[in-house]
């Protein structure tokens, strides 16, 4: 067994264990941390597959942004509401049944019907050509997939707009600045002259 294979099987077992942790932990904070570990582990496995840029992006974007957002939301909610009361419910045997069927079908396809795939890397490939992965990805992304790239940017813009407009709320009784009234003010409204009676003793 070569060094690469040892690395693969160690990281693969970590990935499976932490994925099980995501669905089995009672506390959602533990689930989120378990998901973080599984993301980092799969980033390490992607490095074995020469996807260096995407491995770093997975750690930066997923662990750095998305999972922090998850943890932030979990901690914002009341912890008694988000704790699961019992570890297994009545759907558990059914879920195990469905999951085992899905895995069994996929593994059957992979191991017995995989004659079409090349099982070892194609010898003269573009990933092995000495060009760095980031350069290769960027060159392809900005030539062949430019329109899709712009659509992806638009999707991100849409996500920003949607999440802000969903979570923004106006509370009653809040003293906030009203710019239009400030701009439209004139001199007569600023100052009010009141005649006072002389109060001489």
């Amino acid at each position: 067994m070569s060094f690469i294979e040892i690395i693969f099987y160690v990281f693969a077992s970590i990935l499976v264990l932490t994925s099980l942790g995501v669905i089995l932990f009672k506390n959602p904070v533990y689930s989120a941390i378990s998901l973080i570990v599984s993301f980092i582990t799969s980033a390490a496995l992607w490095l074995l597959l020469q996807a260096e840029f995407l491995a770093i992006v997975l750690i930066l974007v997923y662990v750095g942004a998305v999972m922090v957002l998850f943890l932030f939301v979990v901690m914002m909610l009341n912890i008694d509401d988000v704790m699961r009361t019992s570890k297994f419910n009545k759907m558990a045997p059914f879920a195990l049944f469905i999951g085992l069927i899905v895995v069994a079908e996929l593994i059957t396809l992979i191991w017995f019907r995989s004659d079409q795939f090349s099982m070892v890397p194609v010898s003269t490939g573009v990933l092995d050509s000495g060009v760095s992965n980031t350069v290769l990805l960027g060159t392809t992304l900005f030539t062949d997939y430019l329109y899709l790239f712009e659509i992806a940017g638009f999707i991100l813009l849409l996500a920003i707009i949607v999440s802000i407009s969903l979570t923004m709320r106006r509370r009653e009784g809040l003293k906030r600045q009203i710019v239009s009234e400030q701009v439209n003010i004139d001199q007569t409204k600023r100052m009010k002259l009141v005649d006072l009676k002389n109060e001489r003793n």
Binding site: I4, V102, L148, I155
Partner: protein, 101 residues
């Protein structure tokens, strides 16, 4: 020498765990969103593996777009979750049956 099958098998197992998590979990929407992330991770794993074994960069481009969409989906999902918690004071999946009544 590692062939393609161990990678695909690993992705299939992670995918199965994600499916199981979605069915098993009737209590908490946050875990549901996390299981969706697991499913997307398994799909990405398949793309990366095929990209390496076919020596074609297109698979990695696809993973790039899937990551973008998944980030947008997580942001919108969590925003919906926050609004839901604000209105109902609960994120229990089984209490979300307003449309059924």
């Amino acid at each position: 020498m590692l062939t393609l099958q161990p990678y695909l098998t690993l992705a299939a197992i992670v995918f199965g765990i994600g499916v199981m998590g979605i069915i098993i979990n009737r209590k908490n929407i946050i875990i549901l969103l996390m299981c969706t992330e697991l499913l997307l991770l398994a799909v990405n794993f398949n793309f990366i593996a095929f990209s390496y074994f076919n020596q074609d960069i297109t698979g990695q481009i696809f993973v790039f777009f899937i990551l973008t969409v998944a980030a947008a989906e997580a942001a919108i999902g969590l925003a919906i979750l926050v609004v839901l918690y604000r209105n109902k004071n609960s994120i229990d999946v089984q209490k979300l049956q307003t449309l059924r009544e």
